[in-house]
């Protein structure tokens, strides 16, 4: 009964006819475009993107290869910027569509074009007073001109009026006859605002920006251009465009081959082993410097990694490489390279400073960070290799110096000689310790949970020429020390406090070592003097005693391990077996061969 009454009391709803029109959208909605969504460089990029898409359309429409040229003309004095492409151009329908905001055929086919938001020509709204777009489409005998009064729109953008009222009368479209074969689009930004967008009128700044962010060709004179181009040929969206600024061609510049090693190529995969990007990278040939690759900034050379989507760079170099996420983060500067995102789900955000959040973006960012870590820690390996080889070279020098002193040391009254020999012996022992550590790393068993840094160090030390050099140097040290034992009184061979290096000397020595490995010229005298100054400080004593104590610990552990190993073999094959006997017999020599004097 109560329910029936309630139903009777419920008032009916009557629908009022209503349409949603453009008048329902207020002018201030455009304010985000007018209030500097893009900085000066990004505005240039937006128009170059449009030019690139015009070439994509040209190929689709004609089946022919387009010219792929983008001309930028900056009139700094006149405050104008021109961007011209010879792409497909626009007909009347296209030009009417071009003035629209966020309405574009590109929106339905985001993977076919670089731009996909439909902002297009409006990206210059905050930048200049007037935009003029002149265009003619292939096979169309008309040239169209769209002129939009951006300044007037900006001046009224916060008025409480509908968006159509704001735009009404503030644009015009004209047409005139033209050659039917012509096809181009010419965008002109008139009266660029010098107060906020002066950079857009700075030719040098724009050249630098274009070289780093736009899909311009690799420097044709760069040694590795053919190799990188060949590797990228199979990857979609790696086409380049001949971009000129005031007639000067823009190229991507990288350090010369004297600075970097041959580029390597890597397919970056996510945790599910799906490819998300292709990267090329080249490692520095330098060591011992804070920023390892010497970069000619004036020329436009770069280091670190650019992340590219559809061949336009996104964000800063080393995008998503943060110190807390990437081990040996600083070492990314020891490399130069590019990462081409191939996962089509990944799109840049509106101003292309990072990835747009998506279903896959977290996975790809994680894969990217992992890649950075692998690369950055590899530099540890490179450093390890260089230092180890330098150590081997130093061994040669020290041994040579001792050999020179030996004949005169037969006269044991020559205290000066004996003192020198004692110093060299101390140095040799220090080298021996370090080289043994290197050999331990070479021979260590890899474990799945080894850190990337450890893995990298082992990878570099296990190179055959490194291993060989280490073994040779250790052999040389052993022989020399053995020889000295026979000739020189044991008391002389005891390392004195003064035979240790202080920090400064050590740095000098390291520098000389690095110089040798780099191939820089160093005289024999310099090499010898580096050796001679080794050791005047007590602080290194502590370091050495720690090292020595660590070495002892390692030795004890190793002996225990060997005993355990032999016990295991005896348990399995029997202590009296021939097999056990052979192992027991050969083990010491095998260990010695690997530098482990157990």
């Amino acid at each position: 009964m109560k329910k029936k009454i309630a139903e009777q009391m419920q008032l009916p709803w009557t629908e009022i006819p209503a349409n949603w029109t453009i008048s329902d959208i207020g002018a201030p909605l455009l304010a985000s475009l007018a209030e500097g969504l893009y900085d000066a460089q990004e505005v240039l990029r937006e128009y170059v993107q449009n030019a690139v898409d015009s070439y994509v359309d040209f190929r689709r429409l004609t089946g022919r290869d387009p010219q792929n040229t983008v001309q930028v003309l900056i009139d700094s004095n006149g405050g104008e910027v021109h961007i011209m492409d010879r792409g497909v151009g626009m007909d009347q329908k296209d030009i009417l569509l071009a003035k629209s905001i966020a309405v574009s055929p590109k929106l339905s086919r985001p993977n076919d074009f670089v731009g996909f938001r439909g902002i297009g020509i409006w990206s210059g709204l905050s930048v200049c007073d007037t935009l003029v777009l002149e265009t003619t489409k292939i096979d169309v005998p008309f040239l169209y001109r769209l002129r939009i009064d951006f300044k007037s729109i900006r001046d009224h953008i916060y008025e409480p009026i509908p968006i159509d009222e704001l735009l009404r009368g503030r644009f015009e479209i004209h047409q005139q006859d033209t050659n039917v074969e012509d096809h181009y689009t010419h965008v002109k930004l008139v009266n660029v605002r010098r107060d906020r967008y002066q950079a857009l009128l700075d030719i040098d700044k724009m050249m630098h920006y274009a070289a780093q962010y736009l899909p311009v060709p690799f420097d044709p004179d760069w040694h590795y251009t053919p190799a990188v181009k060949e590797a990228l040929a199979s990857v979609v969206w790696t086409s380049t465009y001949e971009l000129t600024i005031n007639g000067e061609p823009v190229f991507r510049y990288f350090p010369p081959e004297t600075e970097i090693k041959k580029p390597e190529f890597v397919h970056i995969k996510d945790d599910e082993n799906r490819e998300v990007a292709l990267a090329w990278f080249a490692e520095t040939k330098r060591t011992g410097q804070r920023v390892a690759i010497k970069v000619n900034y004036k020329r436009g050379e770069v280091n670190n990694f650019a992340v590219r989507i559809k061949n336009f760079a996104v964000g800063q170099r080393g995008l998503y490489a943060l110190p807390q996420d990437v081990l040996d983060f600083d070492n990314l500067d020891w490399y130069v390279g590019e990462v081409y995102i191939t996962d089509t789900d990944i799109k840049p955000d509106t101003n292309r400073r990072s990835f747009q959040r998506s279903f896959r973006s977290d996975d790809v960012i994680r894969a990217l960070k992992k890649f950075y870590t692998t690369v950055a820690t590899s530099s540890r390996g490179w450093s390890e290799e260089v230092n180890t080889l330098a150590l081997c070279e130093n061994v040669k020098d020290a041994v040579y110096a001792i050999e020179k002193l030996l004949p005169s040391s037969e006269n044991m009254s020559d205290e000066k000689n004996l003192s020198s020999i004692a110093n060299y012996v101390a140095t040799l022992e220090e080298y021996q310790d370090k080289l043994k550590k290197a050999l331990n790393k070479i021979n260590a068993v890899d474990m799945p949970d080894d850190s990337p840094r450890t893995q990298a160090e082992r990878r570099y030390l296990r190179k055959s020429y490194v291993k060989e050099a280490v073994e040779l140097a250790l052999g040389k040290i052993s022989r020399t020390l053995d020889q000295l034992m026979l000739i020189v009184p044991a008391s002389i061979l005891q390392p004195s406090d003064s035979s240790k290096q202080n920090g400064t000397n050590k740095r000098k020595q390291s520098k000389a070592r690095t110089a040798r490995i780099k191939g820089d010229h160093i005289t024999a005298n310099e090499a010898l003097s580096t050796q001679a100054i080794a050791g005047n400080s007590t602080d290194i004593n502590i370091e050495q005693s720690i090292a020595s104590s660590e070495a002892k610990k390692q030795l004890t552990s190793l002996e225990l391990a060997i005993n355990a190993f032999l016990a295991t073999v005896a348990a399995v094959v029997g202590e009296g077996s021939e097999f056990y006997r052979q192992i027991e017999e050969r083990l010491p020599s095998e260990l010695r061969r690997r530098g482990l004097d157990v």
Partner: protein, 301 residues
């Protein structure tokens, strides 16, 4: 939204094309060979919306400054067309467009500072005349030429000067030509009257043929001037075209003295009449003083 089909007022005549592509081209080629063999040249001029001169001479030009006055919307449109043409023809390397009056740029200190001196080709393809007097009696155009020579004292350059015959002067041109005739008549040399009569038969063109070398000779005393015979042709209007090679004069630090002989050699130059590519005529306007056989096809000052 309006619809408009524009058509340009200016169309380059066949005669003009011939002068630019054959005569001037050859003059520049020889000039470059003689003075700037291993270097490209800098151009300053009024290229017009077709930039036809720059396109024709592009192989010689390394950088260039085009000037276009933008006093009306029509002229502003021409400036826009110039930029478009530059981009379409990939001529933007070393290019700058100054939206200004060339006479203002050349005649004033402030204007001169906007230009990237020096220039080895100066093409003053004026739409109007030379002696268009300003209200105060000074001709801005003549001052511009003074400014040009003053800024290029040490520079070898070639000057092309194209003028409209409908000069809106206040009789200065006729007065100067009469004075010149009077002066030469007093020197007891033969043929003066016939020569001036011959020039006057071509009206303003004849008077300009007399006046321009005298004027340039007077203002450019730090240069040796080598005049080529002027060409009278029908462009959009009746026009006369002068080509002068200007070479720094080093013989005397005080500058070159303008001698009567110099006047005569210019007066004795023939006038070329060009109707079209197939109709070029040489007209002798009379000879003064020196033997006809000794006359040269270029007048040296």
């Amino acid at each position: 939204m309006s619809k408009r089909i524009s058509n340009s007022k200016f169309t380059s005549s066949e005669a003009k094309n011939y002068i630019r592509d054959i005569f001037d081209f050859e003059i520049i080629r020889n000039f470059k060979h003689e003075h700037y063999q291993d270097q490209s040249l800098a151009y300053l001029g009024l290229p017009g919306e077709g930039i036809l001169d720059v396109l024709s001479w592009r192989q010689f030009i390394g950088r260039w400054t085009g000037v276009q006055v933008v006093d009306t919307s029509y002229n502003a449109e021409i400036a826009d067309r110039i930029v478009q043409k530059v981009l379409l023809n990939r001529m933007e390397r070393g290019f700058e467009l100054l939206r200004d009056n060339i006479d203002e740029l050349l005649a004033t200190e402030a204007g001169q500072q906007q230009l990237k001196w020096p220039y080895q080709i100066v093409n003053l393809d004026y739409y109007g005349g030379l002696v268009n007097a300003a209200e105060n009696g000074n001709s801005r155009r003549l001052n511009a030429l003074r400014g040009l020579f003053a800024r290029q004292i040490d520079v070898s350059f070639v000057l092309f000067l194209t003028l409209n015959l409908r000069d809106r002067d206040r009789g200065e041109l006729t007065r100067l030509v009469n004075a010149e005739e009077e002066e030469l008549s007093g020197l007891e040399i033969q043929g003066v009257s016939e020569c001036f009569t011959g020039h006057r038969e071509f009206g303003n063109a004849g008077e300009l043929k007399i006046y321009v070398p005298i004027f340039l000779g007077a203002i450019a005393n730090r240069h040796s001037l080598i005049f080529h015979p002027p060409i009278l042709y029908q462009g959009t209007q009746q026009m006369i075209h002068f080509a002068v090679r200007c070479i720094p004069y080093k013989a005397d630090s005080a500058g070159r003295i303008f001698r009567t002989k110099d006047h005569l050699s210019c007066l004795n130059l023939p006038l070329y009449l060009l109707h079209n590519r197939d109709d070029l005529r040489k007209v002798d306007l009379g000879y003064i003083g020196i033997d006809k056989d000794e006359s040269l096809d270029d007048g040296r000052l």
